[in-house]
Every structure is written in structure tokens, then in C-alpha cells.
Point group: C2
Chain length 180, copies 2
């Protein structure tokens, strides 16, 4: 429902109707919309982590830079499922910016993601795949910026950003990072 109707279209009543349950039953578990949204994002987070994605189907990448590339590719809306998930994430940002609790959960997710990418960037520097001298935390923050913004543009203009172009743009970005 979040992917289709957005956060504005999500009501406890509509979710209960979709489940064939009473609103009372639903509110027994989720006292308000905020609790339901927070749970939905947690479920999505786990599902995203568990689901095999195109990037993961190929040979497992070795090294810091190939692994960093795989992590970044995994964020992008390269197929219909990735687009649906990203519509939920992008759609959740507005609600989160108006709710300190949700904002904190989002901030934590993105921080953990940056920390993981920073480890990969540091490994890439040790392996000589990326030039030394730049803080791995900055490499990670920059890379995460790039893919999050690419997600937004691809969602609004899918015909201008087919999967091949998203991948080419990411590879062009990483080439610039490697060139220092």
C-alpha cells in the first residue's frame, strides 16, 4: 500500500480493509499510523537485506571496490521490485522529517550504511583500488549521496533512467573516485 498510495494514502482503516480485518484488531497491534509505518519500514529493511538482488546473483565480488560497487548497485531501482521498495523509502522521508522518532531511525540506518561503506572504502584504499589520502568516511558519504539522489531521479523519470544508464552512471562515478 505504501508503494502504491504513498504515506498520505495509508490509513489504519484502509490497511485493515486490505487485510480483511477489523480496524480494532489492527489497532490492538498498532495503536496509530506512526507505529504501523515504523513497523513497515523495519520489515522492508529486513526483506531488502534478505532478498537476492541482481547484483548478488553474479559471482560474489572480491576486494573493497567491487564490493562497494555491489552495495551501491543494490540500492538502485534496477527492477520493478527495487523501484517499489525505493518508492516506500523515498516516500517515508517526508513523514520521517516531521517525526523525530522516525527521523532517528532513518538517520541510524543511513549511518550504519555509511559505516559499512567506509570499511569497504578503507579496504579498497589498502588494496590500491582507490587512491589513499581521502577519509574513507567521506568516500562513503559521497557514494551514498550519489546513489540516493540517483534513486530519486530514476523514480521520477524512469524512462530517462533505465537500469543500464543507472549502472553506467554509477560506474562513471566510481571511475571519478578512483581517479581521485
Amino acid at each position: 500500500m505504501l508503494a502504491d498510495r504513498g504515506f498520505g494514502g495509508l490509513t489504519l482503516r484502509a490497511v485493515a480493509a486490505e487485510m480483511g480485518a477489523s480496524t480494532g484488531l489492527l489497532t490492538h497491534y498498532f495503536p496509530n499510523k506512526r507505529a504501523l509505518v515504523a513497523h513497515a519500514l523495519e520489515v522492508l529493511d529486513r526483506r531488502t537485506a534478505a532478498r537476492p538482488r541482481p547484483a548478488a546473483e553474479s559471482t560474489a565480488p572480491a576486494g573493497g571496490l567491487p564490493m562497494l560497487r555491489a552495495v551501491l548497485l543494490d540500492v538502485l531501482p534496477l527492477d520493478a521490485a527495487g523501484a517499489a521498495d525505493n518508492r516506500i523509502w523515498v516516500g517515508s522521508w517526508g513523514a520521517a522529517l516531521a517525526d523525530d522518532g522516525l527521523a532517528g531511525e532513518h538517520a541510524g540506518r543511513y549511518r550504519r550504511s555509511r559505516e559499512r561503506m567506509a570499511e569497504l572504502a578503507a579496504e579498497a584504499q589498502r588494496l590500491g583500488e582507490l587512491p589513499p589520502g581521502r577519509a574513507p568516511e567521506d568516500v562513503a558519504a559521497a557514494a551514498q549521496s550519489f546513489v540516493l539522489g540517483l534513486v530519486v531521479q530514476a523514480l521520477f523519470a524512469p524512462e530517462e533512467f533505465p537500469a543500464e544508464r543507472q549502472i553506467a552512471l554509477l560506474d562513471g562515478y566510481l571511475a571519478g573516485v578512483a581517479a581521485g
Copy 2:
């Protein structure tokens, strides 16, 4: 109200109360929330274009790359006003993804922005500020991706992304683009 409460907190009734007007008067001009939101985004668009921003206060940049940098800097939440505006933009994405009309307006805005950046990238290539051989449209799409994603991260983690760091990350990004 959008910056403070988000799209979920915006109702015609609340806006009318804030104005000291009746809901009936407001609905005379804006029959529904969607019309009010579309108008608010148009006003914000014009206000953003007209307002002097920190990047514009320094000497007017010459050349394609310095101007591209100024345009990109202008997107970032480098001060409180820029953060408030960006909260509205980011907050509007979810509503827009669930509304074809709003989505089309957003897609048009970002397309026009990319077109302007592509002209600057082409000029930077002609002037030798950026290496030739890469499509200016790709340089523009990549640069816009970078700043939009940086906006999102800076809004969720403002203490980790003070203005100086945002600027340093953007300059690091542009150095990579210039290095090819």
C-alpha cells in the same frame, strides 16, 4: 507549515486557522489539499530562484565549471533557510510519487535543472575545465544525483553534515569529475 509538520500534517483546516481565515474561504481558492500543495511548491520554486543565497553573494563565477559548482551549492541546505526549503522538497517527494500530476511537475523541474547543468557541463568541456568525451547530459544527471542525495543525508544527520563538510564533499565530487 510544510517545513515544520510535513505533508502529513498539512490540512486545509490547519492552514486556514494559521491564516486566521475560514476553511470555506481557503477552499474557494484551493478546492483540495493537492491544489494547495501544488501551489506551495510553485511558490517555493519561484522564491528559491529569486532569493540571494550564500553561493550567489560572492563574486559571480565565470566559466562552466565554477557556475556549475554555484548551481549545485545553491541546492544544498547550507543554512537554516536552505534546510527549511529542502525539508519541503524532500517531504514532497512521497506525495508526488503517489500523484501523477505532482510527479510530472517534479519530473519537469528536475529535467529542466539537468538541462541547465548539461549546458554548463558542455561549456566546461569547451573551456577545458572538464575532460571531453563524456556526454554533458550524463555529467548533469550524475551531479544532480550527488547533490540530491547529499541533501537527504544532511537533513537526517545535520550534525554530521555541517555546511563546510557539504561543500568539501561537493568539491571532492567535482574534483573526481574533472579527473575523469
